[in-house]
């Protein structure tokens, strides 16, 4: 028989055990993620060069941001990059998944092949693509000359560098998102298609009226995750172009990194990071609302 008292003791024991099991992760998340974000805000209200003591200046850093045209330009570049990258990855991986699905059995083997670049690091991928994009002696320009087209500047051209980085970044993750889409497509019962085919639907209408609405959750997930990732691009920029040529790839995170680790403006860069966080947050919320409002069901 369990009296209320013994059940209370039991409950207390479960609590103690549960929190003991959770403790390492909870402490880790608190110290290395939750506390830093509060600290980021605190530092952003100060002027600090990491050497002399912090000086409280209130919201002055945030006011500086408003008039910092270099920052707004870098945010604009991030936005262009985001549109390019998300467009490439979303359409690329969805098309690839539909293609793999139509291949039936051999699609399974090919899936692995397209997935391989995902295991390659951003640094190595950047190295490979610097090599591919090389002005005079890269494989891409070699190929263009072979088919009789003029060579391109790619990374050395201020109008092509951002797009070139987006292509190289998309190359590493299209296979991954294709696997996500493919798993969702395979979950759709074949009977849905059979019924529509009997009604005389063609492949195009099958895709738009059955496949696309039924994989909506994955689409929304990929859309939001790739957008968040695109606003945080850094490694490729640092390795491939270092912000150049002519600042044409000076995206937001790279700008923040420079303010902090090159100009030692820790307070200002924290304020910038905080603004970026708020922007990413609202973009995601907007995407979520926008895609929900459009829901079929």
């Amino acid at each position: 028989m369990s009296s209320p008292k013994t059940s209370r003791i039991k409950k207390r024991r479960t609590n103690a055990f549960a929190y003991a099991m959770l403790a390492p992760d909870l402490i880790g998340l608190a110290v290395f993620l939750f506390f830093p974000i509060i600290m980021a805000f605190y530092v952003s209200l100060h002027e600090w060069d990491a050497l002399s003591p912090m000086q409280f200046i209130g919201i002055e850093n945030y006011l500086t941001i408003l008039g910092d045209s270099d920052w707004w330009r870098s945010l604009g570049l991030s936005l262009s990059y985001s549109l390019l990258f998300v467009g490439l990855v979303f359409c690329g991986s969805l098309l690839l998944a539909v293609f793999l699905d139509s291949l039936k059995k051999s699609g399974e083997i090919l899936r692995t092949v397209y997935f391989i670049p995902f295991s390659i690091s951003t640094v190595v991928a950047s190295m490979i693509w610097i090599f591919m994009y090389n002005d005079k002696t890269g494989y891409l320009n070699g190929f263009l000359r072979l088919v009789g087209l003029p060579g391109q500047g790619f990374l050395s051209s201020s109008s092509q560098a951002l797009g070139s980085i987006a292509v190289s970044a998309a190359w590493t993750c299209i296979g991954y998102y294709a696997v996500l889409f493919l798993a969702a497509i395979k979950d759709i019962p074949p009977s849905y298609y059979e019924a529509a085919v009997l009604d005389g639907a063609n492949k195009w209408t099958l895709f738009w009226n059955i496949t696309f609405p039924l994989i909506k959750n994955v689409s929304v997930f990929v859309f939001i995750i790739t957008t968040i990732g695109s606003f945080q691009v850094f490694d490729q920029v640092k390795v491939m172009t270092n912000g150049g040529p002519a600042n044409s790839t000076n995206v937001s995170v790279f700008y923040i990194y420079r303010q902090c680790f090159e100009y030692m403006k820790l307070g200002y860069s924290s304020a910038l990071a905080f603004v970026l966080f708020v922007i990413i947050f609202f973009v995601s919320v907007f995407q979520l609302k926008f895609t929900k409002a459009d829901s079929v069901d």
Binding site: T14, F17, A18, Y19, M21, P24, D25, L26, G28, L29, F32, L33, F34, P36, I37, M39, A40, V43, A50, L96, F99, L103, T112, V113, Y114, S119, I120, S121, T122, V123, V124, S126, M127, I128, I130, F131, N134, K136, T137, V179, L180, A183, D187, N217, V218, I228, Q232, F234, D235, K238, V253, I256, C260, L266, S269, S270, L276, F277, I280, S284
Partner: protein, 274 residues
């Protein structure tokens, strides 16, 4: 008139050509890296698809630059993070999936909310924090902050929720303590999720660049990615060596990926976002 059989045959031929072209697009950059790594430096940019002369001078140069040390650093860091993170996350996942404790909902949502914090935002305070711990230029500074990760906790919880509770009841009747249930029932059943997260954690940490770049500026503590990135912009590094070092850096992750990719795909399917 085109018969349906002929139509479907030309259709599958078109698909086969398409598939081959896609394979080339996805694999050619990797092939270019491997081929260039075994060319002599004077011929790296000759655009040949098969090297005219095979030379391992790129690998020799990379070894002279102490590549093996950076390889070891990467291996130590990625393995430690993976091992410790898996233990912690499986403990948390078990508590969240199976223990009925006060504040569970709040704790779970709080953990999930940390997923929204982008690394670029906490990078600077994290650097200050790690510096104040005296962890700059040490393995600790790279390993410890990389361990807590809401995604791993979440996936362990999702996995443990699929295990039938009858097993717990049976173990309780046999006199198992709550920890005993975790240790003897749940842990042994965790292989698929553990493998899946081991692959993703190892590859993610092996490939990590920005954080090790900031924390360990001392050369002997560099990880492979930082060392390879340092080749750029230096005119004295031969490109065959850059490609050789890159190939060496890619080998472990591609090998692990090939052996264990079925777990990754299973993990993607069960992550519940479908």
């Amino acid at each position: 008139m085109v018969s349906p059989v002929m139509k479907s045959r030309s259709w599958s031929a078109a698909k086969a050509i398409m598939a081959v072209m896609l394979v080339i697009v996805f694999i050619f950059p990797i092939y270019g890296m491997v081929v260039s790594s075994i060319k002599p430096n004077t011929e790296v940019f000759d655009l040949r698809l098969v090297p005219a002369h095979v030379s391992f001078s790129g690998y020799q140069y990379a070894l002279k630059q102490n590549l093996q040390r950076y390889f070891l650093n990467s291996l130590i860091i990625a393995s430690c993070v993976t091992f410790i993170a898996l233990i912690f996350h499986s403990m948390s996942g078990y508590a969240l999936a199976r223990l009925d404790f006060s504040g569970k909902r709040f704790v779970f949502l709080w953990i999930l909310s940390t997923l929204m914090i982008p690394f670029s935002v906490v990078m600077i305070p994290l650097f200050i924090l790690v510096k104040s711990f005296g962890w700059l230029n040490s393995y600790w500074g790279v390993i410890v902050p990389a361990i807590p990760h809401a995604f791993g906790i979440f996936l362990f919880r999702q996995f443990y929720l699929t295990i039938p509770t009858e097993l717990d009841d049976a173990a309780t009747i046999d006199g198992c303590s709550p920890f005993g249930i975790y240790r003897n029932v749940y842990l042994p059943l965790s292989k698929p999720i553990t493998m899946m997260l081991a692959v993703s954690f190892f590859i993610a940490n092996w490939n990590n660049y920005l954080w090790p770049l900031i924390v360990n500026q001392e050369k002997k503590l560099w990880v492979l990615q930082v060392a390879i990135a340092s080749f750029v912009g230096r005119n004295d590094t031969p490109w065959n060596a850059v490609m050789a070092a890159s190939f060496v850096a890619v080998l472990p992750s591609i090998a692990i990926f090939f052996v264990l990719q079925k777990y990754l795909v299973e993990g993607i399917k069960m992550s519940g976002i479908k």
